[in-house]
């Protein structure tokens, strides 16, 4: 008994010597600074994301496409043109399309069906970069913001919504690519980090999934862009050494459905701001 206590004390002491604790301190200090920075930028007058929100509102009302109409009659699940709370329930099943769609798939669908807009250019600009704005990023920022302050209501009533959650879970655990990674490699175990970056556990319902899913879309300071969940998952697969994940593909939506299911009830604060 005494020996084992001595051993654990020794282990703690060695941990300190080995720099484990100072590293944790460094991490805490960094995270505190980032938190302070987030607070500073969380009001609408200083978070650059709100420039995207404003552009998104203009795009929502802009008449274009062969039919020269706006998106204002687009049904995001809560009825034509109804934006309040729509994002909180996405992805969801749409009867008219007979499939489960996330916000980005649904917007492309509305552009094609309502506006008869050629979306090739929109998809080409799916991810903004210096000098290139993204209509999708702007529209998502605007629409998601209309659910800010609400809670995530993951839709799991329709059989196709349940199928998508199950598919998303299977994809979450599917190892592959040059480095044998799956989503679960980084997001299943508690208290892990890559370098100093903490990793949220996304494989079960709880606070980590809620605070992650409740804060996308977000303004990525390092990229000077509002990034959507489509981009987040594309970026994950890029880091995982998988090929370029297709924008608006059903696999990405399935993963989002699974993640939203685990994030159900989480508070939405978007667009947020992150590193």
């Amino acid at each position: 008994m005494r020996a084992s206590r001595l051993l654990s004390l020794l282990a703690v002491a060695m941990g300190i010597l080995w720099g484990g604790v100072p590293a944790a301190h460094a991490q805490d200090a960094t995270e505190k600074e980032i938190e302070r920075y987030r607070e500073m930028l969380s009001d609408p007058f200083s978070n650059p994301a709100f420039l995207f929100v404003d552009r998104g509102e203009a795009l929502w009302k802009l008449a274009r496409g062969e039919k020269n109409v706006s998106l204002e009659t687009c049904d995001l699940g809560e009825g034509p043109g109804k934006l309040e709370g729509a994002f909180a329930k996405l992805p969801r099943y749409f009867t008219d399309a007979d499939r489960v769609m996330d916000l980005e798939q649904r917007l492309l669908w509305c552009m094609e069906k309502i506006q008869a807009l050629d979306t090739r250019d929109i998809v080409k600009r799916k991810f903004g970069r210096p000098g290139v704005t993204s209509d999708m990023q702007d529209l998502v920022a605007f629409i998601a913001n209309k659910s800010s302050g609400l809670k995530i209501e993951a839709q799991q009533n329709h059989p196709k919504e349940q199928e998508m959650a199950a598919l998303g879970e299977a994809l979450f655990y599917r190892r592959g690519g040059q480095w044998d990674f799956s989503c679960a490699t980084c997001h299943e175990a508690e208290g892990q980090r890559i370098r100093l970056q903490g990793l949220p556990v996304l494989s079960k319902p709880g606070k980590a999934a809620q605070s992650t899913m409740g804060t996308w879309p977000t303004y990525r300071v390092s990229q000077s862009q509002v990034r959507t969940m489509q981009h987040r998952l594309w970026d994950c697969y890029w880091q995982m050494r998988w090929p370029d994940a297709a924008y608006g593909s059903d696999g990405i939506t399935a993963l989002t459905v699974y993640l939203q299911k685990n994030a159900n009830g989480g508070e939405i604060q978007v667009p947020s701001i992150k590193r």
Binding site: E169, R175, W242
Partner: protein, 207 residues
């Protein structure tokens, strides 16, 4: 006290029994549906990438068992992966630790936007603590501080480390660690340099 622990264990059991059907249900997704979704996501990638999307036997087994394979499956994985390890023809396992430290620090390579001509890294610090001087290290893998020193620089441990880096699954079936040599991400010399980082007494890992 003991009964309390017993009833707590029984309660846990009951919870586990209740949650089991949900797990079984989610495992019931038709593999063809999963593969169709994967094709939908990555089918447009260049031909050279297509083989990386198709799972090999080990990836399939680890996905199916969620990295906790039953004993017989685990044995089959390590047996198969052991056969894939190519040991250095010159019988030498130790390279240059200074080059090893650079490889351990760099995470470059393997991403679809990376320049294939640039030198790749092993990204070791992303998951492991190595040098005591480097405070920015991940915790997905165990700390490797004083790795060689703790093992008294024994020859058999040097060889085992080469095998572990070359093909982690030969040692720990369904390990989270990439099979860095098997996938040809790192070449033989780079792995030797990493082994030296772990085993050279002058390396910051052992200092």
């Amino acid at each position: 006290m003991r009964t309390l622990i017993h009833s707590a264990a029984a309660a846990l059991f009951a919870v586990a029994a209740f949650t089991l059907p949900a797990v079984a249900q989610s495992a019931k997704v038709d593999p063809a549906v999963v593969e169709k979704a994967v094709t939908g996501m990555f089918g447009h990638a260049p031909a050279a990438w297509q083989e990386k999307i198709v799972q090999d036997e080990t990836q399939k087994a680890c996905s199916l068992h969620r990295n906790a394979p039953p004993a017989d499956v685990a044995k089959a994985i390590s047996a198969r992966e052991e056969k894939n390890v190519v040991l250095p023809a010159d019988g030498k396992f130790l390279g240059d630790w200074k080059s090893g430290e650079k490889i351990a620090q760099s995470g470059y390579g393997g991403r679809h936007t990376d320049d294939p001509k640039r030198e790749v890294g092993g990204n070791c610090y992303a998951c492991h603590q190595l040098s005591k001087k480097e405070l920015s290290f991940g915790t997905m893998g165990p700390s490797l501080v004083e790795y060689g020193k703790i093992r008294k620089y024994k020859d058999e441990d040097v060889k085992a480390a080469f095998i572990k880096i070359y093909n982690a699954q030969a040692v720990f079936p369904c390990s989270n660690m990439p099979r860095l040599g098997h996938s040809k991400h790192l070449n033989e010399q780079q792995i030797k340099d990493l082994v030296a980082l772990l085993f050279d007494p002058e390396s910051p890992v052992n200092k």
